[in-house]
Amino acid sequence: MNKIKLLYRLGVILTAALAAALVGAMVLTAIGASPIATYTTIFTGPFADKYGITEVLVRAIPLILVGLGIAISFRSGILNIGAEGQILMGILASTAMALAFPGAPKVILLPLMFMAGALGGAFWGGIAGFLRAKLGVNEILSTVMLNYIAAQFYTYLLRGPMIDSNELLTGSGTPQSMRLPKAAWLDRIVPETRLHAGLILALVLAFCVYSLLWRTTWGYRLRAAGAEAKAARYAGVHVERSLITAMLLAGGFAGLAGAVEVSGVHHRAIEGISSGYGFSGIVVALFGGLHPAGIVPAAVFFGVLLVGADMTQRSAGVPANMILVLQGVVILAIVSAKMYINNAYALERFARFFRRSGTAKIPRSVKTGGQP
């Protein structure tokens, strides 16, 4: 049975991969690019050197953090698509904190900054949680809208109150904050690359989220409220409070992701930091089965996809939009395959079919022990 299971899963994955590759190849051929070169670049490019690998991990860090938050909210019955806005609020809060205490030593400043980032994100997520729990506003609506509001608020601050005074002086006027003091920078863990200590933080937090959700009474409450609100209420869980808690946590993780990005990579608040991590984070969380043990590899995989696909622009001459096509196709193929892999009914049918055709093919002599 286990062999059949393996065969089945392999078959599903191969079929999905093939389908995805074919669709991508069709579009690539249509625009006159080489599918083979493109695919080779995506999946080998990131592993060619130290840069590639570390860049993948650099992408994976915020994806893990956002994904963890998303996992908490989805597990608690909230479809949070507002991570994008929550990241921005985290960036603002953490930057403000770091700039407010420029003289503080690292051991104090970094935790303060991350705390501020998490609080900023939590505040933004909490609004959606509050609206849902107390006023019955659907979270999909509110988070979509809050993303836009956050984006405007972000430019407002970066262009106005938080702008680097140097930008005003020179007249460049770029919306960006002052550069953070060195004490607010996360250390690089591989020299000459951008891989920073945020990775360790993300991994530690992944473990914490696992413990939180599956090992604590808190997590139990959140999951119960998310899985079946009626039963949770019956069992004495305050479901509304749990929704708000979940959104606070989810927002907190997104905000922390923003803070870590600033502290580890950009060292100041600028535009375009979140670069779609809010949405990719959802994909990562769901790929990872809403479980930290799945989210970490899913984030790394997605990092490969991001970095590798970007490389195709330079190595295979593929236009930037094509990258979106490839990512889209890969996502569609993987979610489809994933459902089949976990579908016991389909596996059962496959096993039956396999056994039937399998037994028919086995010659009698073998079965009765005749030596070939």
Binding site: W214, E228, R233, G236
Partner: protein
């Protein structure tokens, strides 16, 4: 689908097998129904009855085996194909779309009413009228399903299936949620229908089987273990054949009165889901060490009363005192902490979190108690041990306590809830329809457990529509009618007739 072209003279299932991942639900089942006959299909929870019938109704595909109608092999790929041959099924769970009206539900399945860009609702209304008059099944065609009581929904189901032109009617536990009167009515109507139809009837209540059916087939673990004429066997014999041992439902014989009032409800008023005043000045006292049966036709405030007691529904006025403390309008958590146990009506969505494991569901109310947690950390080992011991104690049948509870059979889910509520050592226990849809064996077990708690001094409020169950177990019986308690009688002197009249709202001096 109007009436099928050819009347069904004989239906035969031969060697039907159906396997679900990890379980053989139907194991080489054969059975046969003739025109005008009622075949009863009985068996424990999870025996495979519904699966078999779903195969007949075209919903599932058998792995092997054949179905033949009037001697001709047929193959039902979809429910449509089954309808076309005159097979209609009333499913165990209502198959009515709640936010549609009755007419719309009927029109949904009646393809001949589907015009281009137009839905012939009047045609559906006519058809409903015709059928409901013919079979004396009154329904209000323009009511939304969510507005209807369970009994009314059952009637709608029946009318709907008949509207689709069924000649062979499959009824999967149609009486499990009906009041005694409704059940009697239904059985009488079905009896009359046999002039025109054949019926396959599934029930856990063997007296109904006895009253209605001509022949009976018993399934156990997916296989047929008995096939015979109903008239030749008593319900007790059938029960023994079904479970493999004698089944005797326990009775509460002692009737000694304790006096300590543990739960007292005064002049309680609360609103139902539709905004109506479902509880309208209700007074009730539950004493320690008694079973108080609450009889009544469903929809008279039972559900709301249970909700209010559990803290799940706000009280408009009146008080609830539990062990002398005023707990009116307290949160569910407070009620739980005060020592109130509650077996809810909706076991699938309220009693358990279906996706949680059996272990987790067994601590649904106590995960944060010092026994199962240390500060805020869960003691997973303790939770597992607890589950193992309860599983043994309460005979919960599951492959392991880490499987999702939603995958268990109804009877076993009920046992999980019972185990949890009882293991918490409550001071009072509210049990709402605790044996609905549960097989004889489990029923016996649940009754025994409730009586055992009573012996230990727990006050049990048993809400049920089964007079049988109430009269068997109660010390006193209260009758609820339109949100008030009409009368409380000692069980020893209560009679079926008297209760029946009270439940209909008739108070004789």
């Amino acid at each position: 689908m109007q009436a099928a072209s050819e009347p069904i003279q004989e239906l035969k299932l031969v060697g039907i097998c159906k396997r679900f991942p990890g379980i053989l639900a139907c194991d080489n089942v054969s059975l046969e129904v003739k025109r005008g006959e009622v075949l009863a299909l009985v068996g424990e929870n999870g025996a495979g009855k519904s699966t078999l019938m779903n195969i007949l109704a075209g919903l599932y595909q058998p792995d092997s085996g054949t179905i033949s109608l009037n001697g001709e092999a047929v193959h039902f790929k979809t429910p449509n194909a089954a309808f076309a041959h005159g097979i209609g099924m009333v499913h165990q769970n209502f198959m009515l779309v709640p936010n549609l009206t009755v007419v719309e539900n009927v029109a949904l399945g009646s393809k001949n009413l589907h015009r281009f860009m137009n839905l012939d609702l009047n045609g559906a209304r006519r058809r409903i009228k015709e059928i409901s008059e013919h079979h004396e099944l009154p329904v209000n065609p323009d009511a939304y399903i969510w507005q209807l009581s369970v009994g009314e929904q059952q009637r709608v189901e029946l009318v709907k299936t008949l509207c689709f032109g069924a000649q062979l009617l499959i009824l999967d536990e149609p009486t499990s949620a009906l009041t005694p009167q409704e059940t009697d009515d239904l059985l009488a109507r079905l009896k009359r229908m046999t002039a025109e139809l054949s019926i396959i009837f599934i029930s856990h209540k063997l007296n109904e089987v006895k009253a209605l059916s001509d022949r009976v087939t018993i399934l156990r673990h997916g296989a047929v273990v008995f096939n015979g004429t109903t008239a030749d066997h008593t319900p007790a014999e059938l029960a023994a054949l079904m479970t493999g041992h004698e089944v005797t439902l326990p009775r509460n014989e002692s009737h000694d009165q304790s006096t300590e009032v543990i739960l007292s409800v005064k002049a309680l008023r609360a609103r139902g889901d539709r905004g109506n005043l479902a509880l309208d000045g209700l007074d009730l006292e539950l004493r320690a060490g008694e079973v108080l049966g609450l009889a009544g036709v469903s929809g008279n405030g039972q559900r709301e009363l249970a909700d209010v007691l559990a803290g799940l529904r706000p009280v408009e006025s009146g008080t609830i005192h539990f062990q002398g403390k005023n707990l009116t309008n307290h949160s569910p958590r407070r009620m739980i902490e005060a020592g109130l146990g509650y077996i809810p009506e909706d076991r699938h969505h309220e009693g358990i979190v279906p996706s949680f494991s059996v272990q987790d569901n067994l601590v649904l109310k106590d995960y944060a108690s010092p026994k199962f947690s240390f500060s805020c950390f869960l003691k997973l080992g303790e939770i597992e041990r607890n589950a193992e011991s309860l599983r043994e104690c309460f005979d919960i049948r599951c492959s392991s306590t880490s499987v999702a509870t939603g995958s268990l059979s109804g009877g076993n889910i009920q046992k999980v809830i019972l185990a949890r509520e009882i293991a918490r050592c409550p001071k009072a226990l509210v049990a709402v329809y605790p044996t609905r849809g549960v097989d004889m064996g489990a029923q016996e077990f649940i009754h025994t457990q409730l009586l055992a708690r009573r012996k230990e001094g727990v006050g049990v409020l048993l809400i049920s529509e089964e007079l049988e169950e109430i009269m068997n177990l109660s010390d006193r019986i209260a009758v609820i009618y339109k949100g008030r308690i009409l009368k409380v009688l000692p069980a020893a002197i209560a009679t079926r007739e008297q209760l029946g009249l009270l439940m209909a709202g008739v108070v004789n001096e």
